[in-house]
């Protein structure tokens, strides 16, 4: 038995992982989540802003991390729309524009009263990373003279008087790496005191704790952060409970739970085998 387990082939571990993630996905079960104080800080910040506040959403992620970050982005966008905030979308990642479009599609489908140009504007992508941030903090039109459709920002009611982003009420950055949270903190939030909240992947979250609470007002970490934000939104706006699309993050917590339990089981098993092997080696 010991020999068999000790030489367990990777394919069996892969099969276990596949089943641990696949079965809960197929069962579509969601688990009860309780929003943690950090998530509530972020939620309350968006909630407490007066209706019509201007929010800049920079979605700096790609399809690889969309599984983790898109539910978060969607939860933010829905919350902003429910509060009737004005949203300016942009991205620092070349593959980011479709990430913005996915969220604009949510606005079009679920909030048909939301008008492009008046309630939200899509600035799209510009190359330069931190250079873009640095420039738009002092002069928006030097980087973005027109929106993603080629319409001059001066012709759109939401952006016609927007000279730079220092005057925005909240900066929301959903990021999977560089350029992302750190660049926004260094070149926008800190020097110009722009209130900022972020959403990030699980692997980048520990690094971003460094900036809380002074430079960042709050952070949503990984899919759990998204699930908790969705839960907080459902508590505040019960109509969201009837929208399955507004519970993507919550649904993804069940596969995560089983995968984590499998990881713990395998770590324990690996260590038991390690110590048994060591004892056998010692006794022999």
């Amino acid at each position: 038995m010991f020999e068999k387990l000790n030489s367990l082939e990777s394919r069996w571990i892969f099969l276990m992982t596949f089943l641990a993630v696949g079965i809960p996905i197929l069962l579509q079960k969601s688990l009860p989540e309780k929003p943690t104080p950090m998530v509530m800080d972020v939620f309350n910040l968006v909630e407490d802003l007066p209706s019509g506040s201007l929010i800049l959403c920079s979605f700096d992620f790609d399809p690889a991390s969309a599984g983790e970050l898109q539910p978060m982005a969607a939860a933010f966008v829905r919350h902003c729309a429910l509060k009737k905030h004005k949203i300016v979308f942009m991205t620092l990642w070349p593959v980011g524009p479709p990430m913005i479009q996915n969220n604009i599609n949510i606005l079009k489908k679920e909030f048909p009263d939301y008008q492009y140009g008046e309630d939200y504007v899509n600035l799209g992508y510009r190359t330069g990373g931190e250079g873009v941030i640095k420039l738009i903090t002092t002069s928006l039109d030097k980087m973005y003279s027109e929106d993603v459709n080629g319409t001059s920002l001066k012709k759109l009611s939401l952006t016609k008087d927007l000279k730079h982003i220092q005057g925005i009420d909240l900066l929301v950055n959903i990021s999977a790496g560089t350029p992302g949270v750190i660049e926004w903190v260094q070149y926008a939030s800190t020097p110009f005191n722009i209130k900022t909240v972020v959403g990030c992947t699980g692997v980048t979250a520990p690094k971003n704790y460094t900036y809380i609470p002074k430079q960042l007002a709050g952070m949503l970490g990984a899919i759990k952060g998204a699930a908790e934000y969705e839960k907080a939104s459902i508590i505040q706006y019960p109509q969201l409970a009837e929208n399955p699309q507004a519970q993507e993050g919550l649904r993804r917590m069940a596969p995560q739970l089983v995968a984590h339990l499998l990881l713990i089981f395998l770590i324990i098993l690996g260590n038991v085998l390690h110590f048994v092997g060591r004892r056998k080696g010692l006794s022999s």
Partner: protein, 230 residues
């Protein structure tokens, strides 16, 4: 000349950015330089594309091992590039319906959108998802309590793994309020916002000091390694 001009550009640009930060009168200089940076950054895409072509064409022409993969890479690169540059199958923008090329290159229905939606998205997601399989395999084979440091790491990993799921809340939900800090979800918060925070800040401050030193060496032309050897 080949080395002096880049050195002057680097020093001048860096010092202008520093001065513009501290002197309000020089703020517009910093803006101008940042604008240059953004324009030059766009050229990096062209250079990157040219470099990709050069490396893979060389590999194909020399029939080096794996040249077939290079052919696939080049085909994918060129098809995607042409689909985007020529806006193949993209409808004209509503603002300028008379101009067939006025639509957005990534508009729904276009060839680039099709490549993105049905090739790039599933391939990226698949590659990222495969990490889960390797992490699980590594957890079984490599995560061993071989010494005290590894044991502490292992114990912390357990707490985080449980604390980030409903199982953690469920297991310790019976603890009285006076011991609420021992609930897995609260222990996770303590680990992340105390121990992790202290370590991360120390590393971040260390990196910042290193960046200042390195930047000064670059601006004063003490470190010229970025110019290459010839």
């Amino acid at each position: 000349m080949k080395r002096t001009v880049p050195l002057i550009i680097c020093s001048l640009t860096g010092f202008i950015l520093i001065i513009s930060w501290f002197l309000p009168a020089a703020e517009s200089w910093g803006e101008k330089v940042t604008h240059w940076f953004d324009i030059v950054a766009a050229f990096a895409f062209v250079l990157g594309g040219a470099n990709l072509l050069k490396i893979h064409l060389q590999k194909i022409s020399n029939r080096r091992i794996g040249w077939g993969y290079s052919a696939v890479t080049l085909t994918a690169f060129l098809v995607t590039l042409l689909a985007g540059l020529f806006k193949i199958n993209v409808n004209p923008s509503m603002n300028y319906p008379a101009y067939s090329w006025s639509g957005n290159y990534l508009d729904e229905g276009g060839l680039l959108w099709w490549i993105y939606e049905y090739l790039f998205v599933p391939l990226s997601a698949t590659l990222f998802a495969m990490l889960a399989f390797y992490i699980t395999s590594a957890a079984f084979r490599a995560f061993r309590a071989k010494n005290i440091e590894a044991s502490i790491l292992l114990f912390t990993a357990f707490l985080i793994l449980l604390g980030r799921t409903y199982a953690g809340s469920l297991i310790t939900s019976g603890l009285p309020d006076s011991l609420a800090f021992l609930r897995f979800e609260n222990l996770t918060i303590i680990i992340m916002s105390v121990f992790n925070l202290a370590g991360s800040r120390a590393i971040t401050i260390g990196i910042a000091l290193g960046v200042v030193t390195t930047s000064l060496k670059l601006l004063l032309a003490v470190d010229r390694s970025y110019l290459g050897s010839d």
